[in-house]
Symmetry: C2
Subunit: 283 residues, 2 copies
């Protein structure tokens, strides 16, 4: 219903996600290679420029909404009128009837940074963390393995060109939505925007990312109401502390049959340990 309001001049599928280039390998041989696209997308809220994101461009409308929502600029999906993406001018114009509360104040605040370690997240980002209460998940090791196998079917751009991060929201071992981006936080915001638009509850979901679990990544997933974080990469101290505070089950270094549970191991039923040992013996 809310989605029907959206008018996209151009859909993301109209821009390529990779381009072909030539590179010289270590043997001096010319190789045909794919490279991930990176393009600016300036996000406007009611005709006011908010930020320019460097993005792969896979789902710009969801990215723009997710960014604005995660930064606290917009909150009421029913007031949303349109998101108009125009790659001719690299813009995503979001129109809402909602009064963006103290937009000036938010634009003035520059006190919390993005998880890439830099840049600026506008005021409002940390708001509402105290109110978050996440359900306690019950996970099975065998389901985690099944999910990791299913995710291996995704991240086409990464397989093709590398240089992107992938994120997915999953219910048990099914991937509800998966997106890749040159910026890992763009990928998170894109999924956040989608879930917000569809008014999905993250309570029964698992959030998968190829990226590191830094403070901002954990905060964003908590705001999506998702109680489980699964990453191919590692964690930082602040990411772990936030997961402990917010009650997020944090599983990192998840690749093949290996993973490390940094928080919430009690929520995991280790029902597939045997085969791990078998695998170990085979090595």
């Amino acid at each position: 219903m809310t989605q029907a309001k959206l008018h996209l001049i151009k859909t993301a599928t109209e821009v390529p996600l990779t381009i072909n280039v030539t590179a010289i390998d270590e043997n001096g041989v010319v190789q045909q290679k794919s490279v991930a696209c990176e393009r600016p997308l300036t996000v406007y809220l009611n005709w006011r420029p908010i930020v320019t994101l460097m993005t792969l461009g896979a789902r710009p409308e969801a990215l723009a909404l997710g960014y604005l929502k995660n930064q606290g600029f917009i909150s009421d999906v029913t007031q949303l009128e349109s998101v108009i993406v125009d790659w001719e001018v690299n813009s995503a114009a979001v129109i809402t009837k909602e009064q963006a509360q103290d937009l000036d104040a938010k634009l003035a605040e520059k006190t919390v940074t993005t998880g890439c370690g830099q840049g600026t997240v506008f005021g409002g980002f940390m708001e509402g963390l105290d109110n978050i209460s996440l359900p306690e998940p019950h996970l099975k090791q065998s389901m985690i393995y099944s999910l990791l196998r299913n995710i291996a079917q995704y991240n086409d751009t990464y397989k093709n060109a590398g240089a992107v991060h992938g994120c997915g929201v999953c219910i048990e071992d099914n991937i509800s939505s998966f997106v890749e981006d040159v910026g890992r936080h763009n990928a998170v915001d894109t999924l956040a925007g989608e879930m917000w638009l569809k008014q999905q509850d993250g309570g029964n979901m698992i959030f998968y990312t190829t990226g590191r679990l830094t403070s901002e990544m954990v905060i964003k997933v908590a705001k999506m109401g998702i109680p489980v974080l699964l990453s191919r990469s590692g964690v930082t101290q602040m990411g772990l502390e936030l997961a402990q505070q917010l009650g997020i089950t944090m599983i990192a270094r998840a690749k093949g049959r290996h993973f490390l549970v940094y928080h919430g191991a009690d929520n995991i039923e280790f029902d597939d340990i045997q085969s791990n040992q078998a695998v170990t013996q085979e090595r």
Copy 2:
């Protein structure tokens, strides 16, 4: 001389870079693991807060200077009076006699993003790119291999805890300086701050990074006057286009004996191809 002006209340070595935690592995076994620290550092310029960076905290004074310099807030190292880092309050206070040109205007501009794909780089970031003219390097494949072997001695935090990126400035196969951070752009800015403080010319240097070569990474290295980029990861389309425009030799996917030259292959003497073929045959 300029360095002598710096008074550090606390040096970076006074904060730990990793902490020890326990994690449960896939066999349900408790493992002792190290995790990279992540802490906020609010950068003040003449007592005015500019940004909060999430950083490992290895070299906060150089990071603060490099960030301010790369964002165009400061430019004259001789006007620098002090950088006071205080981890008690997570602050880095930079004092300069230099008039930070139109600081308000720069703080108001939020139109170019960081290479992580998000956040905000203040006005001035793109300034001066047209004036950049980089020397043409002459590289030997054998030297690249020697450099990669030497770099393997570094990135202690990564080996210990993961979840960080490493960057180094190198002259031939010698690493002049190497730094790690949870944010790859913090690592770049830290080296930029160091070189600026020492008034080093990057013309004979190679910039190594474990991170992806996105647009902002290339721009920052060009501003450091360094004509060669060497990365363990891949490149994006905009990173490549900027390297072509700015005349930066761009070598990516450099690991072991493998690499891909995306731009500037003419500057590389392939003097070690034989052993590659040998290695290939051994496989």
